[in-house]
Symmetry: C2
Subunit: 400 residues, 2 copies
């Protein structure tokens, strides 16, 4: 094996560095380089080589390498699950769920999260240098699918000598990957917790993504995807894309509860186009802060991967086929106010799993926090994950 | 009265001209000019003078002028209710509802629709010449509210010698105006049919509008609102705004039924950023065609007017107060799949009307067509409007 040597240092991966200036500097992450001779085969028919995968790990890998929890991050997430983000200085995106004594207990489990191929936090993506030109790939980067991302993660686990995972979990696009893992690598997944996800992207979801992509591409600073070479950034377009997407992550009820029609630092409306309302100010902030940490082309690729995902279509239109013969234990979770992945999406997965007599539990959690519930303080979610993992650990005989 | 003379020619207003090149050429409409000496007082504290209002009418005004149905158009609608649009060449936007033998029967009623002040189809708006500078107003145009628009319509009716209207109706922003009419001109409204509307704009709705405004303003061709002087058009930004808004006009179910995950003119995905999916192609078309008929600054002003609307806040936070003493007959209509103005919004209006013992009926129509249902073929809507108008006409003794 000619892979560049990388020493695995569980628990020491997060070095909590100071704020960095731009996306693509995954300080504190470990990176595995796969050389030209070991390409990643892609659904589009091409291959990516060489390629790198950046990842973070938390907890200690046991001797049997049987306590691995693979966390799959969402569209704009990254590998910084439970340690300070190197660009924003903010806590890891799932510190509510992952850490010592948390539902995904790093005192018991070895947690690993890989930045998706096509991403912008250290794994090879459109920001990376195209070896054929010596310039950033831009739109010459191949379109990546959810199965491609999962195959890349499997390659990383191979590299680490991890034959199978005790559990794979994640929300939203991460949940799609959980389902893809369970379908494509049945003998490598002991248990799976897909959260706020579905086996396909709906028409409305594709529509929202298309709006975001068009907003990015409408920005003249996008330069046909070649902005890095020209020292430009489609900041305005990407901010608009993020604003539109962000609305879909919340619920009408949550927006009403948080902001209602409250005004921002003023007693009455301005009769102008300033951010009079708190919700406007909040959205503008969401847009502006996003562009400091995320690459615009990566956003295009990540959204496309979600749009293309259709697990049933990959199995002759029969979702149950995708899971035929599975012995994985599933815990499927949805949220009542999630209108991006409403409960019926995960229910279709549960029905498919039932059709193949899989071991599946299903929890719909009552909350008004919308799609983002999986990232927030949701005690019922924590109790569900904690209980499921404990039971699964007992079943597997994990003495930890 | 120094108003410019305009002869009213019912039934001859629609001249069905050929396609015109740009917004702002309201061929076929009648226009009333209000001179400098007759300003329109505005909620922002300023006044607009001089100003013009473009309108269309259909049917014949009876001698008593008692058969007027005032139609209030929606955000991006205009006065071309039931006659070919002069720019697009398409049928009027409410030909399903208004015309000879239709629910709003132009054999019985004199139907009138006024382009909103701040609009771009002939009424004074940000495209109009600012008399102080000789250039288009742009963002120097004052921010207009729903009550401002309604006061302008009342001024036009005054000009036409119409003391009161038999019915005022409209959907979405038009429905907001119906409510404002009923609250502010109680003795001028015999009956009212607000459809797919509410007494305020929700936090989520404000959020979507803000995304649209930011998309327009992010387009460098917007030029701080001075694009007309510079012979530019923020076409890309406005198209993105329209795309985002358009998703909110449909329901998830309707998108699924119409498009699902069907591909556009191809057997398999392209692994690129073309419009692979029909829903993408459809949305792009919606965006591109919108910019041919609508002014970007007008879009900013119209969205702002909706955001500002809060009828309860205008009455000490008590919506019932807005309707106290009303003798108007109301027929409130919502659609089950409308998530822009869900049923609870109009139900709050119905409850306020009940609190003041108003004459109100309320119909929630089962459909999966979303907010746009009011524009579509909805037999139950037609039957509701037709039945309500007939009963109201009998009550008023309209012998037509």
């Amino acid at each position: 094996m000619s892979k560049a040597k990388q020493k695995i240092k569980p628990d020491k991966a997060a070095k909590r560095p100071a704020r960095s200036p731009a996306p693509g500097s995954p300080s504190g992450s470990q990176i595995v380089h796969f050389p030209e001779s070991e390409p990643l085969q892609l659904d589009c028919g091409g291959a990516l080589a060489p390629f790198s995968l950046a990842y973070q790990s938390y907890g200690t890998l046991n001797e049997e390498k049987s306590n691995v929890v693979l966390v799959c991050h969402a569209l704009t997430g990254d590998q910084h699950v439970a340690s300070t983000h190197p660009l924003t200085g903010k806590p890891g995106w799932w510190e509510t769920m992952v850490g010592p004594g948390k539902p995904v207990d790093t005192n018991r489990f070895f947690v690993i999260c890989v930045n998706h191929v096509g991403g912008c936090m250290g794994s090879t993506g459109p920001m990376s240098e195209n070896p054929e030109t010596g310039k950033p790939y831009g739109l010459d980067f191949p379109v990546i699918t959810i199965p491609d991302m999962v195959r890349a993660q499997a390659r990383l686990l191979d590299h680490l000598g991890i034959a199978d995972v005790f559990c794979v979990t994640g929300g939203s696009m991460g949940g799609m990957q959980v389902l893809e893992w369970a379908a494509s690598f049945k003998d490598r997944v002991f248990s799976a917790i897909p959260i706020a996800a579905g086996a396909r992207h709906s028409s409305q979801n594709i529509a929202f993504h298309e709006v975001g992509r068009q907003a990015v591409m409408a920005d003249p600073q996008w330069c046909g995807g070649r902005y890095l070479e020209r020292d430009k950034q489609p900041r305005k377009g990407l901010a608009v894309a993020r604003m539109a997407a962000h609305i879909t992550y919340l619920s009408d009820e949550a927006l009403h509860r948080k902001f209602g029609r409250s005004l921002q630092d003023r007693a009455r409306v301005s009769f102008g186009f300033d951010a009079d309302f708190q919700v406007e100010s909040y959205l503008r902030h969401q847009g502006a802060s996003f562009v400091d940490r995320f690459d615009a082309n990566s956003y295009l690729y990540m959204t496309r991967a979600m749009d293309y995902f259709d697990l049933a279509a990959d199995h002759d239109g029969d979702l149950a086929q995708a899971f035929a013969g599975t012995s994985t234990r599933f815990c499927c979770v949805s949220f009542t106010s999630d209108w991006l992945f409403p409960t019926e999406e995960i229910r279709a997965v549960v029905q498919a799993l039932n059709a193949v007599a899989a071991d599946v539990s299903f929890v719909e959690i009552e909350t008004d926090n919308g799609h983002d519930s999986f990232l927030l303080h949701e005690p019922e979610l924590f109790a569900t994950v904690s209980g499921f993992l404990s039971a699964a650990a007992r079943t597997r005989g994990l003495d930890i």
